[in-house]
Amino acid sequence: MVLASMTSSNAVVLAGAVFLASAVEMVEALTIVVAVGHTEGWRAALRGLAVGLVTLAVLVAAVGPALAHFPLVALRLVVGSVLFIFGLQWLRKAILRASGLQAKRDEDAVYRQTVASLETDAETHQRARVAFVLSFKGVFLEGLEVVIIVLTLGSSAGRLGLAVLAAIAALVVVGLAGVIVARQLSNVPENLMKMVVGVLLVSYGTFFTGEGLKVRWPGGDVALVVVAGAYGIVACLTVIGLRSSAGRHPEGATSP
């Protein structure tokens, strides 16, 4: 009974981590697609989106099953190390933004930048091509990070199907939000999501790397929750410390 509830709570944490991480990346991709759609027409934007999604789906279909044949200990070491580094980078950025040391990502600014880059290409034929490439690149590059998170977290936890479902759920939610709010993507609390995802990625990275290095975590999977709590507390304390120190020595935030 206890084991069953522990397993289901770990599944929820895994699905939540994949959902949030995917949503953050998808919001970034959506900003570019919406900007292209509003400026150059939806045909080029949606073509770029479709080709980007198909390319990513092919990538998941090709790499996903191959990971199942990889020895689990080695897989966890490699995947854990990648998540460990990637998670620390996310958490660092979220801490710097939350403490005001770095300007928060402004989706409105990204939107304006994309529109401006399209407007500089005067010829219609050239603009349609640039619009398609911009949309494709936005979806593919942001999507590639989603693919890595889905494949690494899903395969290491032995729940690739659940991770894929969580990413699809994020795609549906962000897609619907995109249709409804269109240009108001700056209202999404992206930094808070980034902070939570950063904590979860570092926690999974720590946990899997430890298992890859034959570390026996006390309490098994429960250690993951304890580690995540510790990272969360440290991140919050760091933000508080940086904010109070910035209050004593005021200094403007730089752009990302």
Binding site: F84, Q102, V202, T209
Partner: protein, 79 residues
Amino acid sequence: MRAAGSWTLRLLRGFGRFWWDFLVGDTPEIFLAALVVLGAVALISLEGHWNAAAVVALPLLAMATLGLSVRRARRPGRR
């Protein structure tokens, strides 16, 4: 034939650049510190067989890495 070769080269370069940006990017200190942390924990766990020390060291060293990188980012001209 030559076109196919240059396409493969471009693809490989792009693949390499993606992973470089993904893992190193503008925070090489995190990448380097992570390698040191993983090496240290590997020694503690695989060679020393000190499980309790490895359990404590891994998250603590990760927190230290984070603190170091944030501290580095606070320096003028960084971020």
